[in-house]
């Protein structure tokens, strides 16, 4: 397992001390979970496997309802300015 790549994909910083134990944990878990590769799933189509089989409801009516007040939404964000959420520069970023 390329833990540094995974961490980068997951936007997690993993310190040099953490990397060994995390890789060991992950590899143990994966070894154990590898058992599902041996399960005969030939009777299950990909369509059925990936169907949203658990959704039970109908979509709600497409009618406008009052949104959360802007002040409430902004109140949840850690950094704001002049009624906007403040973010670091991101254009040109390879993130």
């Amino acid at each position: 397992v390329d833990l540094r790549l995974l961490a980068r994909l997951a936007r997690l910083k993993v310190s040099d001390e953490e990397i060994g134990p995390l890789r060991r944990d992950l590899e143990r878990v994966l070894d154990h979970f590898a058992r599902i590769a041996a399960v005969d799933t030939s009777g299950v189509s990909d369509e059925e496997a990936l169907a949203s089989s658990t959704a039970t409801g109908e979509p709600r009516a497409d009618e406008p309802t009052p949104p959360l007040p802007a002040s409430t939404v902004l109140g949840a964000a850690p950094r704001t300015r002049d009624g906007y959420v403040r973010v670091p520069p991101f254009l040109g970023e390879d993130a």
């Binding site: 994909l9 910083k13 058992r35 109908e58």
Partner: protein, 487 residues
Amino acid sequence: LSVHDLTATEIAAAVRARRLAAVDVVRACLDRAAELDGSLGTLVHVAAEEALEAAARLDRAAGAGEPLGPLAGVPLVVKDNLLVRGWPTRSGSRILEGHVAAGDAAAVARARAAGAIPFAAGNLDEFGMGSSGETSAHGPTRNPWDPERVPGGSSSGPAAAVAARIAPLALGSDTGGSVRLPAALCGVVGVRPTYGRVSRRGLVAFASSLDQVGPIARTVRDAAALLAAIAGRDPGDATSGDGPPIPVPEDGPLRLDGVRLATSPDLRPAGCEPDVPDLVDAALETFRSLGAEIHEVRLPHVADALAAYYLIADAEASTNLARYDGIRYGRTADDEDLRARIEATRDAGFGREVKRRILLGTLALSAGRGEELYLQARRVRVLVRREFQAALGDARALVGPTSPFAAFRLGERLEDPLALYACDVLTVPASLAGLPALSVPAGLTRDERPVGLQLVGAAGGESTLLRIAAAFEDVTGHHRELPRGIG
């Protein structure tokens, strides 16, 4: 008789009849929380003033002869991953430090409408990711039966608070067993409804194809009353729908003549603590004495369910938790570079177990591994669902243990993810299949630790499950056994 000896339904009846003031009920729970919670770690926020005001309003309404709901005056603990307006909901995580809920979760709003009074937020494993109640940023919850042991997770605080009689009733959430498991280990009742039966609006998302909100109570009838109050379609959750009504089972003793139940050797995995199968056998004998017929089925895919569950749940978690980027919620790091800010926020904000899950989920969805891991897990999920549906075609419920073992010692499994995940081996199949399941006390091990009996039913079969569980509870009285030292 003190307030703590009353069930939720008894409290509501007394408040409606003005034999008991809601204010006194809430005050009694607050006092008990002050007395016991310091050593148990069940609560992460107590809204004393707000709850006393709500109770006073209710008492005035009672005095004015206004109609009161089925849960009138019943103090409620709410798991800290369900939003309660104005409360500092953190889902047990450092990353949501400073977050204040803008409104009530749907289940909370419905419980309030039925008369319940949310008075405290219950501790939980961080983002619901844990089976022992030990991964919370607030610190571990302890089991009222033995403070050196875990209460089970992830709804650790709600279950332990109900067991310690700090509250008669609590709201939890169950992704892979997070209501049923702590209910079993704490000797109380916990219900996971059919997927879609209860709205998740306002529930902090963990794994959206699995998350469900459910009640925790001391009796089956109390759990039924809370479930009835919170169930039903909500436009705020497109997966929610209406189902058959959920009546509170009538007063017992109930009979189960001719009711067909199934059990399976596949629900007794290797590694079961010896007292667990013994108590399940005793429960099956009880069901026979009530008139039920019991037959055996095979469920070979139960053994594969754990891996399928963790791959799917963690894949969904890795995407759901992408929203914690230090921009939209909670705390943030100081870096002025975007990626560095996000990574530093998540590094400081997430605990070890949450990082493990995000990494596993990211791997399960990654190019090259997605086919063998995530897609194969989804195929196995279909097999589990088919197997359970087939078994339930000929039985009203599947009966087995909720957990292979009773409460274990704090720290015993925390450092070994596989040992921790093994707690969920019997609860994840119903989650994968989207079926309702509950845990009801089945008695104590020889060293006095509670064991839970799990009943799994057909989709929409909550009322059947509750009735079977109520019959069991009436005749065994296991729910009346109380933790020593919690008088």
